[in-house]
Subunit: 140 residues, 4 copies
């Protein structure tokens, strides 16, 4: 496993915050957000983070780099409910030669709901490994 | 983290196999199955496993037990493509007093595509923790 | 069929506009938003509309009314792409004794992408038909 | 609107039946299958139908033809529940010069749950309109 640490539960340790609202379509018959639905939420936050730092993912893709997901891990601490406004705190938690990791903390009104990490590499549109762009290596 | 080990890559180490076919709706603009879509696949396999061992999840739910997801982790080794027939190999990889873990290996024609683990506890329909059913504790 | 008319393609004919951004997870292997993903988008817009008119859906639900979907229809005119900012224009296009219809127009930078209609009735949490709330009947 | 007729509620009027089981991930906080989740179900059935008639969709795609969705319409008659085994009855209900329509009837143990229609055209991978393949025109 690349992912071994649960990221910080302190919002101050994160560089960026993305806010979203839970959709009804994201809930399940337990009355809470289905566990698979957190990954699109943190992906939305990751894309917003890339835009925030001046590297919109669509531009990265147009330059011939896709950010592959190698691993994903979520820890569900307290449920998310329909219509809740969720703050997804985002941090770049590791940059290696050929991969990087992003950490996430999800809060609602300051209450912790979940943490997660995704590990990524870069690939060409044909799916071949390629090295990280310089701006990303420089952030390590 | 509860999940620390990547489960076996040998199908023979798994008790049960569930077969499914990739839906077009599960693909993304990279032309492969989106990483969030593996969790519903392993959930489908977990539900099939419970049916296989004589404890259909719907019966478990009607007895007042929901199986909460505490953590989920996936490792994406090779992409899954539209229309591929996926074997999801399932094993109970740990039973503790108040939680259990399930391991998964996804293969296509014997080729490894992904591994994953989910950690669960049991809760009442109102969301309160409750102990594991006896049949599950006895499997530990 | 209850739904027989394609709603207006003129944004001025709509009472309310909700803006959202396409998620990568909503795309498919054709490189565009999967057709099933428009329904959660218009649902998000419908929920935002209810909040806008002072009747947040979560409050409606807490008063014992669920808004069932009887029919849904979408017309896909031009594809939606990853990261596009979508304006979902919303209108109440019909109120009958026991049901109502909502119309939608999706635009990006003023260009039409899709239209749709959903037809709804009201049910109790147990799924039994119940009449529309007075405020909704009064909007007819 | 291209779609104007609700298709037959008699399973005998359909050429093909595809069976699937409701996933937990397809349910919502009303305890039933979310209305957006029927479209991937009927898409799965449409893909199975194409395989059944000797034209697997992946082969069609490799020949340079994508089947675009022009319109989709669903009528939700009775809810679908978690773990139910659903028969999706499929028929080609119309073939025109540049488009075709598929009709669907969803039943559980013979009880009708939903009907639907999707309208399609054919496009190249670049998204340009192209005519229907001959085998499809010949089915009209």
């Amino acid at each position: 496993m690349r992912i071994t640490d649960d990221p910080s539960t302190n919002p101050d340790d994160y560089e960026f915050r993305h806010r979203l609202r839970v959709r009804f379509a994201e809930t399940d018959a337990m009355g809470i957000v289905h566990h698979s639905r957190y990954l699109p939420m943190v992906e939305e936050a990751r894309v917003a983070y890339l835009r925030h730092i001046g590297h919109p993912y669509q531009e990265v893709r147009e330059e011939g780099i896709e950010m592959n997901v190698l691993e994903a891990w979520m820890r569900y601490r307290m449920p998310l409910l329909f219509d809740e406004v969720v703050d997804v705190h985002v941090a770049l938690v590791g940059v290696e030669r050929a991969s990087f990791q992003m950490g996430y903390l999800l809060t609602v009104d300051g209450d912790m709901r979940a943490t997660g990490v995704t590990a990524h590499s870069c690939v060409t549109p044909a799916g071949r490994p390629t090295r990280l762009p310089r701006w990303l290596r420089d952030m390590g």
